[in-house]
């Protein structure tokens, strides 16, 4: 498990590690898409290519005992928080060895043992639940922090406002981490909100709102470090808005007809992984980066093999884990 002391400075080795973790997410998403197209995965996929810097930069300043909530697009958050790659892959395959035993799937990836709730696939669903995590930490007088990942689309849900207001007035150790990728499915944010900076809404609740370049992992990390540190010492919640972009469509069948290829090209110019790789290559040369990439492919080869070879859940397992305390006839629903 990671350290409990989180450094405020990032050295070159640490940057290489940030690269490794972003690249793991990127390649996980890309390879998952391929096996999906080959018909190996049930259900649908919401992929996060382009948004890796947010997941990695934020989770880099969290302790193993801190918690996150995620969304219908949770693969990056899960890997960044430390969900086992094999268990995440197996969950996408609907296998018994998955991190949710096949009951969660892509949209509910999570693992309490690493501080991640099953991802909440209702837009805004995590924004109220996260206040309860923070409230528990406050009442138990721990110094844990809870981070709520959500998209800009959630900021028009009542849950966003109720969660932020309650967290603020209770000074809860919560960080609201908005990934503003500009589109809610196909709808541009500017078309459904006159206030296009989600962070501006923080003022309405008396909390700090910060706009951050979500395509720069070091900028993400720096903003998250300060927000999490504030939350941890009882200074209350912060609303971070990461300006980012999803390179893929909203879900697997999306051909992205609602946005221009020019816009996509502009954002890809700012690819957080390419940017960091270029900088690191100028320090270390390409070799350690190529080695890292090769290791990631091996990790993913292994995870896919593991998932393919894992047993399916038993059909009757669908009837378990509804209740902690089973009473009477509801034992066999």
């Amino acid at each position: 498990m990671g350290p409990t002391h989180i450094a405020d400075e990032v050295d070159a080795e640490h940057e290489l590690d940030l690269y490794r973790r972003m690249q793991l997410i990127r390649r996980f998403e890309e390879r998952v898409y391929l096996v999906y197209l080959q018909g190996e995965l049930p259900g649908t996929l919401h992929q996060s290519q382009g948004q890796e810097a947010v997941a990695v930069g934020v989770c880099d300043v969290l302790r193993p005992t801190d918690w996150i909530t995620s969304t219908h697009r949770p693969h990056g958050h899960a890997l960044a928080k430390g969900v086992d790659v094999r268990a995440a892959m197996a969950e996408l395959y609907g296998k018994a060895t998955g991190c949710c035993g096949g009951k969660g799937g892509s949209m509910h990836l999570g693992d309490p043992s690493v501080g991640m709730l099953p991802a909440i696939a209702i837009v805004g669903g995590g924004n109220t639940v996260v206040t309860g995590l923070g409230l528990a930490f406050k009442l138990m007088r721990t110094d844990q922090v809870a981070v709520c990942f959500f998209g800009e689309g959630a900021s028009n849900e009542g849950a966003f406002h109720e969660g932020l207001n309650f967290a603020a007035v209770q000074h809860l150790p919560v960080v609201f981490a908005c990934e503003n990728n500009l589109y809610g499915a196909s709808t541009p944010f500017h078309q459904i909100s006159l206030v296009t900076d989600v962070a501006a809404r923080a003022a309405a609740y008396g909390v700090r709102g910060v706009i951050v370049d979500g395509m720069d992992v070091l900028a993400v990390r720096e903003a998250a470090f300060r927000a999490v540190s504030d939350a941890r010492i009882g200074a209350g919640p912060v609303l971070l808005e990461f300006k980012t972009y999803r390179f893929a469509g909203h879900s697997r069948g999306d051909v992205r007809g609602y946005r221009s290829r020019e816009e996509e090209a502009e954002w890809k110019e700012r690819d957080p992984i390419v940017r960091l790789r270029e900088r690191l290559a100028s320090t270390f040369g390409a070799e350690p980066l190529d080695e890292t990439d090769a290791e990631i492919e091996e990790t993913l080869d292994d995870a896919i093999e593991f998932a393919r070879n894992s047993p399916l859940p038993r059909a009757e397992d669908a009837l378990t884990d509804v209740y902690a305390t089973v009473i009477g006839s509801e034992a066999t629903p």
């Binding site: 918690w67 991190c99 949710c100 035993g101 096949g102 009951k103 969660g104 509910h108 999570g110 693992d111 309490p112 043992s113 709730l117 099953p118 909440i120 209702i122 805004g124 669903g125 924004n127 109220t128 639940v129 996260v130 206040t131 309860g132 995590l133 923070g134 409230l135 528990a136 930490f137 009442l139 138990m140 809870a146 009542g158 849950a159 109720e162 969660g163 207001n165 309650f166 007035v169 209770q170 378990t320 884990d321 509804v322 209740y323 902690a324 305390t325 009473i327 009477g328 006839s329 509801e330 629903p333």
Partner: protein, 348 residues
């Protein structure tokens, strides 16, 4: 946990409100992870929560554990769900069960499903107290929405109608590891100014010594041989009153308070129906899709050949609630309607 023995000889009569307050205080003393959260629950000089259930608790437990919230039901429910996921045992309060619709996502999509989605790694040990019932408050402050939640796997649904079971069940609900919706009828709290309950004595014996009443267990409130009547809240008391009147006509009613609607104590109801051969179900929730329909279906599936007459349901009419008392009383199940249904059920 132990089920209480028969009441001790010395009577200690409490109202439901007093019994609930005792249960909460005992559980808060027992476990520091228990806390209260809701609107107007602990404000000094305030209301002590809706219907005064929390009066005096802030003085003993302080404002860290009795948390006053904004008027923000999604935040209340979300905070309760999240805190429960982290091992706390919140008792949340919505003042009026009608406000449950403000936080359906937190209850139905989150509380009910987190255990399942996590493959059994998480649990949500929370209680949501929900006052229900018609009391001249109209369409948005008098509904009995229990049946919506009976439909949700992962939730437990309790309806209490007397002080003894209110206390024993609330203590069990707080210690239960699953989310429990705890429905209480506004006219049954027994606090001042509730004469609209019909002048009934709403106190019941509550023993001094600690006890629990298990979730998922019904009680037979009145034994009889002619017909089984299953009813909750005000409908329970109206059924008991009807039973007394019908005794003179030779109809001997067995009246059952199910207490828990989910999971439902089928065995107690099936055993009674097999004995009486007749079933009437009475509830203040509206008729269509009400929990009585589920009970009727289960009895039809399991006990059809024991039945000597069609199952009868008495429920609120399928309309929103009006305020004018004359209209309101025409909507909710009156004693007369329950009595007529029992008589009809016993004709065949």
């Amino acid at each position: 946990m132990t089920v209480a023995a028969a009441p001790a000889t010395s009577e200690r009569r409490l109202t439901i409100a007093e019994a609930l307050r005792e249960a909460i205080a005992e559980e808060m003393r027992h476990d520091e992870k228990v806390f209260l959260i809701g609107e107007d629950v602990g404000i000094p000089g305030g209301f002590g929560g809706a219907f005064g259930v929390y009066l005096s608790l802030p003085e003993e437990f302080g404002h860290d554990r009795i948390i006053d919230t904004p008027i923000s039901e999604k935040a209340i429910a979300g905070a309760a769900v999240g805190a429960a996921l982290m091992g706390m045992r919140p008792i949340a309060d919505l003042q009026y069960a009608d406000f449950l619709f403000e936080c359906m996502d937190e209850l139905v999509n989150q509380a009910a499903k987190m255990r399942y989605m996590s493959n059994g790694k998480l649990s949500v040990p929370m209680v949501m107290r929900c006052p229900v019932g018609t009391a001249n408050r109209g369409a948005q402050h008098g509904q009995c929405p229990e049946s919506y939640f009976v439909h949700v796997p992962g939730l437990k649904v309790v309806c209490v109608s007397d002080a003894y079971h209110a206390k024993g069940l609330l203590k069990s609900a707080v210690r239960d590891d699953d989310p429990v919706l705890f429905f209480e009828h506004k006219l049954l709290y027994g606090s001042k100014g509730r004469e609209s309950a019909g002048g009934m004595d709403l106190t019941a014996h509550v023993p001094e010594e600690e006890y629990f009443f298990p979730i998922g267990k019904a009680v037979v409130k009145r034994e009889g041989t002619s017909v089984t009547v299953v009813a909750t809240h005000m409908s329970l008391y109206r059924s008991l009153a009807a039973a007394e009147e019908l005794q003179q006509d030779g109809i001997d009613c067995e009246v059952i308070d199910p207490l828990t609607l989910l999971p439902f104590d089928e065995e107690t109801v099936f055993a009674s129906v097999r004995k009486t051969g007749r079933l009437v179900i009475a509830h203040e929730d509206t008729l269509t899709g009400g929990w009585g329909a589920e009970v009727a279906a289960r009895v039809a599936e399991e006990c059809l050949y024991s039945l000597q007459a069609p199952i009868m349901r008495v429920a609120s009419r399928n309309v929103p609630l009006p305020v004018a008392p004359v209209m309101e009383q025409a909507v909710v199940p009156s004693m007369a309607r329950i009595k007529a249904a029992i008589q009809r059920c016993c004709e065949g």
